[in-house]
């Protein structure tokens, strides 16, 4: 790797570096500086990099800007790869230049804190020599200036070769350099402006750094003796002028050497030292054309594709990548080899104590440094303290810090170890148990959603069995109707006696002969099959007795049934009251009419004819024909109870038999006719009538006997199977 020695602090830097890593002074390689962006070498005079076009912040550029600021407007930035170096070019931002200038001054101050500079110091108090100020004044007035005798030995390399005088004055400044000063109008203008910024610096300018030229072989700098016995390289006192490139005018006019031939600004420690031979030779032969190849002599390779091509431009397929080593330009390759060759270091650099590593390509090698003793003392104290505290230092075994003790363990800080903690034991309280039980109950109590399925009737007896039973019933009925003699044997098993209630009914109706009888038809046509025969029989008895039948009904259909039935009875005198609404309330109002005719002009809002009113008031009996228990009870409660003298008679279906008996026993009903069997006996015994209903009675009896047999058979069968199942379980 090619390295460059910093002229200020003598620290070896990478050739690709722009500034010294130690003192931040600018590294100039044959009048070229490195671009911070692309690391390409660009002439120092240029303000923009030739390769990438980035702006090069240098002191020279700052001075040029100051000089040309009055003449230049906002000039556009030169295009890439075609930048024409011109001192008149200047960037448009003055603030950046000031910032850089300040930064440079700051760096210089920091690099040499021992040297106190007074920014407010007057020029005469600064390091600027007085002869320089005189020259400045002369230039301003006449445009010419004679250098003092002291400056004769100085030489200023102002041949325009691009190699700036980096602070250290070239020995043996020639008359040619002096004559050139006033002839160049540009320089005169520059001189006046440059001195202005010099005044502004006031002491910031000190010694300029040494030209980073390569000393001759074998020659060691005399100031090497100033180095410590340990071979440590100390930063020379000229560090304040790190990276400061003096303008061309200043180079011509500045006499970096004092009267004694010493460098200006050189600390007293080194004031009496002789310049190194190689440096003095440099200064002497500053005007001589140099045979050393300069950067201009070398044909630089074409700019890299990456820096020239703007985004979006198609790449030329023929061009190869500059990073492809197999297609490198030979000249470029040769030039690059010069930097990759092992540098020829001066003899004074070949110190066994100072070991400079030759790292691999691309790495920056820092010279080894030894820890000062005071740091060791502190470290020992820390070690003792750690021993007292029981702290053991870990010696790093790997990485860059191998072999170093006391290094901060970064891993625990950035990646703390995760301790897997086991799950804590959990416990359930009593309350939680209760809640759990409740939730489980709710969950289990939820009905399971079932899929919709066709609605089917629950399983029942087989259809065939039901059909057979129904057919048998119908057959018996038809048989009895077709063959009446088939039911004669039933008569021997049926009772022909009249029941007591029936007898009482007969007697009551006989007692009510010639008197109005209130007949209530509280049944619908659906029950007409059983109650119509009863109604007809009783009405015929009333007709025979000469009683007047007052028909009334609590159902709308019953009133029509009443009209139909009464029309079938011959010689019956009857009066329709009609439909009685209100159920119990209506019967209550009717009961008032039965109690007295004077309160019965209207019945439930309906006006009653006078004859009906009179008949109601003279009602001897109330005959209730109904199939519903509620209706019968209402009649008993609402009509019978308020009127203790009222005679209530009932003709009901066989289903109301159990309901009627308690009221008959309690004498709330004076007579009851229950169903067709009672009717048959009533007709045959009491009335002496052989009606057509006998056939129905016989068939009904036969059906009832057959049904009873079926029920009995089923009872026996299921009882046996049930017992078997219970035993098997």
């Amino acid at each position: 790797m090619i390295t460059v020695t910093c002229p200020n602090c003598r620290v070896e830097n990478s050739a690709l570096s722009r500034r010294c890593i130690s003192c931040s002074s600018e590294l100039i390689i044959d009048g070229h500086v490195r671009c911070d962006n692309c690391r390409a070498l660009t002439p120092q005079k240029l303000e923009f990099c030739e390769l990438c076009g980035s702006y090069l912040f240098t002191v020279d550029n700052l001075g040029d800007h100051e000089e040309d600021h009055s003449h230049q407007k906002d000039s556009p930035r030169p295009p890439l790869a075609s930048a024409t170096p011109s001192l008149t070019d200047s960037p448009g931002d003055d603030s950046q230049r000031r910032d850089v200038r300040d930064q440079v001054a700051k760096d210089k101050h920091e690099s040499d804190p021992g040297q106190i500079r007074d920014a407010s110091a007057k020029p005469e108090d600064s390091l600027v020599p007085g002869w320089l100020l005189d020259v400045d004044a002369a230039l301003k007035t006449s445009g010419t200036a004679d250098l003092p005798d002291d400056a004769s030995e100085t030489s200023v390399d102002a041949a325009g070769t691009g190699t700036g005088v980096t602070g250290a004055a070239s020995a043996g400044a020639t008359q040619a350099a002096q004559s050139r000063i006033p002839e160049s109008p540009q320089s005169s203008e520059e001189g006046s402006e440059s001195l202005e910024w010099i005044d502004a610096l006031e002491g910031d300018l000190g010694e300029t750094s040494a030209e980073p030229g390569e000393p001759e072989e074998g020659e060691t700098p005399s100031d090497r003796d100033q180095l410590g016995s340990s071979g440590e390289k100390t930063k020379p006192a000229t560090a304040p002028l790190v990276g400061l490139v003096v303008s061309e005018t200043l180079r011509r006019t500045t006499q970096p050497l004092d009267a004694q031939g010493n460098l200006l600004g050189v600390p007293q420690q080194l004031a009496g030292t002789d310049l190194p031979s190689w440096l003095s030779d440099q200064l002497q032969h500053a005007d001589e054309p140099r045979d050393d190849p300069t950067i201009d002599d070398i044909e630089l390779p074409e700019p890299t594709r990456a820096t020239i091509l703007s985004p979006g431009e198609p790449e030329d397929e023929e061009e190869s990548s500059p990073f492809d080593a197999s297609v490198l330009d030979p000249s470029f390759e040769k030039w690059l080899q010069e930097f990759t060759e092992e540098p020829i270091s001066p003899d004074w650099m070949d110190d066994d104590d100072v070991q400079i590593d030759q790292p691999s390509t691309g790495e920056v090698v820092l010279p080894g440094a030894e820890t000062p003793e005071w740091l060791h003392d502190i470290h020992e104290e820390e070690g003792e303290t750690a021993e007292l505290l029981g702290i053991t230092e870990v010696v790093e075994a790997t990485g860059k810090l191998a072999g170093i003790t006391g290094a901060i363990q970064i891993e625990p800080a950035i990646a703390p170890s995760v301790v897997d903690s086991p799950f804590p034991d959990y416990s359930i309280s009593k309350e939680q148990l209760v809640k759990i039980a409740l939730l489980e109950g709710i969950i289990h109590a939820e009905p399971v959603k079932r899929k919709r399925m066709a609605v089917e009737p629950p399983p029942s007896s087989p259809v065939l069995l039901r059909v057979l039973l129904a057919g048998a019933l119908i057959l018996v009925i038809i048989l009895a109707a077709v063959i009446p003699s088939s039911t004669e044997w039933i008569d021997s098993f049926t009772s022909t006696g009249v029941s007591g209630p029936a007898q009482d009914l007969y007697d009551q109706l006989e007692d009510a002969s010639g008197a109005p009888v209130l007949v209530a038809f509280d049944y619908t046509p659906a029950m007409a099959g059983e109650l119509n025969p009863i109604s007809l029989t009783l009405l015929e008895q009333l007709a025979e007795n000469g009683s007047i039948a007052l028909t009334v009904s609590q159902s709308a259909a019953g009133s029509e049934v009443a009209s139909i039935v009464t029309e079938e009875v011959e010689n019956l005198e009857w009066m329709p009251i009609g439909y009685l609404p209100g159920e119990a309330i209506g019967l209550r109002s009717l009961a008032e009419c039965i109690a007295g005719a004077e309160n019965c002009e209207t019945l439930f809002g309906k006006a009653l004819p006078p004859e009906i009113q009179e008949n109601l008031a003279e009602t001897a009996a109330v005959l209730i024909l109904t199939s519903e228990s509620d209706s019968l009870i209402d009649w008993i409660e609402q009509v019978g109870a308020p009127n203790e003298d009222a005679v209530l008679l009932a003709g009901v279906t066989q289903a109301l038999g159990p309901v009627v008996n308690p009221y008959y026993v309690s004498d709330q009903l004076m007579g009851v006719l229950i169903g067709l069997p009672d009717l048959a006996a009533y007709e045959q015994v009491l009335l002496g009538i052989e009606s057509d209903d006998s056939i129905n009675i016989s068939s009904t009896a036969l059906v009832i006997w057959m049904t009873a047999a079926f029920l009995l058979a089923g009872l026996i069968y299921y009882a046996i199977t049930g017992l078997r199942n219970s035993r098997s379980e």
Binding site: I477, S559, G640, T653, V665, I695, N696, T700
Partner: protein, 216 residues
């Protein structure tokens, strides 16, 4: 004329017979014909009741109000008429609250009348009659109490979370259960007998009718 009456009678007979068959088809299972017959029965009954109410209640009441000479009677009719009109609001759910007063009157009066009738017409007479009947009455009373005791289902909670009744109470409850079974069986028998009578009467009627028609 005679033929017209015969046709009307025959058609009525046939329709009646068909409806009877439709109702009887429920023996097999529920079917649309059965439902049709039931719907016809309900519809005709409701329609007939409406006609009867209009003809035998509303119209005569209206005529009576109109022909009323006594102003006092007319004033008394205002309240029932207003209540009847408010009761019509029950047909509309949004305005059903308007008829609440009429319903309150109906329920209150009906409950009062029924309560009085139940007490004076059933409870007191029945109790009195039982008291005067002698030994049989006592037995009947005891059995009645046993039946009522059967409907008591509260008891002592055991350790196994079971309801336990006293032993004697269990026998009383069992007796009541037995008596109730017999009573319900008797009711069922009577009801079943009534239905059989109706069945025989209907089929006998149709049989005789068709035989008369076809045989003359």
């Amino acid at each position: 004329m005679f033929a017209q009456e015969n046709i009307n009678e025959i058609s009525g007979l046939i329709v009646g017979f068909l409806l009877t068959i439709f109702i009887y088809s429920y023996v097999v299972k529920d079917n649309p014909m059965y439902r049709l017959a039931v719907h016809i029965l309900v519809g005709v009954s409701a329609g007939f009741a409406g006609v009867v109410v209009v003809n035998q209640v509303l119209i005569p009441v209206g005529k009576s109000i109109i022909s009323q000479d006594d102003n006092m009677q007319l004033v008394l009719w205002i309240i029932p008429i207003i209540l009847a009109v408010l009761l019509l609001a029950k047909l509309f759910p949004r305005f059903a609250w308007i008829g609440n007063s009429s319903m309150a009157v109906l329920i209150a009066v009906g409950s009062a009348v029924g309560l009085v009738g139940a007490i004076l017409g059933t409870l007191i007479p029945q109790i009195t009659a039982t008291y005067e009947s002698g030994l049989v009455t006592i037995i009947v009373a005891i059995l009645t109490v046993c039946v009522l005791a059967y409907f008591h289902f509260t008891g002592r909670l055991t350790n196994e979370n079971d309801v336990e009744l006293p032993a004697w109470y269990q026998y009383v409850s069992l007796t009541g259960k037995f008596v109730m079974t017999i009573a319900l069986a008797g009711v069922f028998a009577g009801l079943f007998s009534t239905t059989l009578v109706l069945l025989s009467e209907r089929f006998g009627f149709y049989f005789e009718s068709f035989r008369t028609i076809f045989t003359g």
